[in-house]
Amino acid sequence: MTTQVAENPVIVGMKNVTKTFPGVVANDQISLDIRQGLVHCLLGENGAGKSTLISILAGMQQPDSGQIEIDGKVSRITSTRAAMKLGVGVVYQHSTLISSMTVLENLMLGDTKRVLLDKKGARTKLRDLSALLGAEIDPEIKARNLGLGQQQQVEIIKALWQGSRVLILDEPTSMLTPQAIESLLASVVRLRNEGLAVIFITHKLREAYAIGDEISVLRKGRMVKHVPARELAKMNESSLKNTVLTAMFGDDQASAGNRKTIEELAGAATASRQARKAGSVSETTVLSVSQVTCSPNDGTRGIFDINIAIRAGEILGIAGIDGHGQSTLAEVLAGQRKLQSGRVLLGETDVTHLDVRARQSMGLRYVTDDRLHEGIVGNLPVSLNLLLKRVGQKPFWNRGRINRQEVLDESNRLISEFDIRTPNPETRAGTLSGGNIQKLLLARELSNNPKLVIFNKPTYGLDLKTVARVREIILEFANEGVAVLLISADLDELTELADRIAVISQGRLIGETPNVGARTAEIVGEIIVNEGAAATGKSRK
């Protein structure tokens, strides 16, 4: 006790918590103290066990063994409601807001104690909480009209709504531009100063250094490193970097590539542009899109007056805050959504009115961002998922009947070519890890003569090694003359890969810049800021 006098009190203490799923130990004997008034950064690759840890704290999963103490008392968090009662609020990576409801309505969803809705009280509470965050939020705006930064602030307010003492932020910065990240970090600091305990999950080391009071590193389900506040205060950025990188990658450092790549992937250094093979971009235009408009429907955004041209071997990046029409653009080009006006040319051919299959066979491919739900059928085996876009086609199907041998041969070929780690081709695809599911999608889309590939957030949520591999694959194919449309919310990724970067906002392309390397992220940020200023000043054409 005497040694802890100077330290902040522990609100939540996890002791030797273990959680296993069939085949995986997701959390292995993890002990973790969450202290009042401190930001505890949790670092680790995807698959390191961070998500499981959160879902245990949030009451969605029960640990197999170990215990959780809250204010020193052993407690069981049996449900999400119990977690809320105990004061644990979570902000997830995905949006939990209902897009057709207003901000206030969304927040009041959690108010179930009283029969009548207390709008006035809710308004006051919202005002107080936004002041605390340093945010300005219109209570009556529909959730779908929130910008991403604002949306996240609302999510945070929602997590705090029931009076949380512990706030968990799950990779909150992965989709934000540098400017938005700064304002988020400022908000987190305010909350901490108010005495909240914050768990900040990230895979970017520089953020952890910027904001963390304590740092813990998870690797393969184990807590491999804990840097308490006292030690962290004494460390500088580079010594922390060494400590953390060693913990994160351990002996794998060599196999993950050279040191520089690791640092970039771990977000310790800023990204630099990858060198492209000379002369890989040719003069032939593969995709030209002119004046394409597609109206919004069902809560998805529309796109307006889009003009794009991509040459063979060129990588065009689309930057922008998530949910500004990127998916609509990809779906329109893939043929999954009908457009209202405009033309899409693939090479010389007008494909505007062709369906998905026809475009597919002409070499247009789409790697979707919604891997789990749109990209694969989780209950079908890997082999059939690899051939999902060729169902019914020869030689795999003959007059409607499957030719198992052909299916097996082709899937084995793709599995080894793309190094998909699966027990066997008959394993259900849904049981693969995120990285292997992405490899499965890449194998499916990149086989059989691609000419233009649309990648929608291709590395989102993947572990670092797979991220590196996926980026390599994209570059390889571009070098071979495939045109690439790379949609990403990760500016580092675009700076690393793209030849040009266009910025999308509210369904319109608002600017474009050639990739000039290190300064590109700033230029993109400026384009976004200028657009915002122009939009409030006068209505845009």
Partner: protein, 399 residues
Amino acid sequence: MSDKKQVVDSAMRTVSTDGIPAESLTAADTAGQRSKRSGKEIANLLIRTITPVVLAIIAGGLILLAMGKDPLFFYGNIINYGIMGRGWQQSLVMMTPLLLLAAGLIVVFRGKLWNLGYDAQYLLAAVLVIGFAPSLNAVLPWWLTLIVLTLLGVAVGAAWTIVPAILKARFETNEIITTLMMSFIGVGIANLLVRGPFQDPDVVVPQTESIPLDSMLPYIPGTRIHVGLIVAVVVVLILHWVLTRTSFGLRLDIFGANPKTAMHVGINTSRMIVTLFIISGGLIGLAAAMDMLGLWGYVRSNWNPEYGAAVIPFVFLARLNVLGSIPFVAFYAIVANGGQIAAQDSDLSTDFILVLVALILIFMSIIEYIGTRRDLGQSYLPPGLKTSVAQIFGRKKSS
């Protein structure tokens, strides 16, 4: 029963399992033909399937006891009348329309489309088949009449699904509502037809002319079971093969798993919706034709056997597997057939059979709920139950 489809099962899971490693989900397998399951999974599946039925029988027995009846007497009579003597033949005859109806529902349900217009599809097909029988019999040989009338039944059943199908395909209109509305309209029209153009002029009660016995479907030699049963079994087998072994079945599974995936991989979802509805309605129309031409021979106004409502729980217990639905349909046919007289012998309302069906549904929901929570590694009890109970009994909780 080596392969099972569990679209419903997995549908129930996907709701609550986002973000949880898929390994923790046992036995969810849309892909019938494809992966093999372990003995544990099969056992799990059997337990989940049979327990609700057993529990329903026990609970039904308790209700009977409470009513002062002897449950063993009642259940014994069900077996007596449903299987013994000629009972099994009657039960098999009763299975004919039920099997086809179950097949018709399974096809759409696997695509996660809900065709709830089965009553109208059945009755309209039945009335038109019976209504046109006399005039066709007059000009065609009996066998050709039967074939033409059967095709007519199929066509009518299918046609009655077209409006909801197109609305769903083009405008994503909720098919539950449209099929139900079309059902009200269709049942009404069927009644109007019985009282109007098809009414038998020789009788006062509003009913159609009866088909003469020699123009009905022939019996299977040596039994009093009409050949409609063979048609039903053959159709069910073919459908099972189509659903599990062909590229169409695979496309249907993809579409059922997620229409967005279907669109992504280039399946024409509008065409899929219309196709599924037409097959569904066609099979229900076929059920009507077989039932009319094999068993009833006439339709009275306001008559509605409500087969669909009876079959739905069993379709889900069979995990939307066509072959798997056969034993369940047989079970229901025996209970319904034997239960008619058994209920009278015990001085019960025949509606007690529906009570049994409802109990099966209730226990099925409970078992699925518990099973899903167990798969997720959570407590068997609903969240918050313990604390609520504790509060009721006044135990103070520290907050």
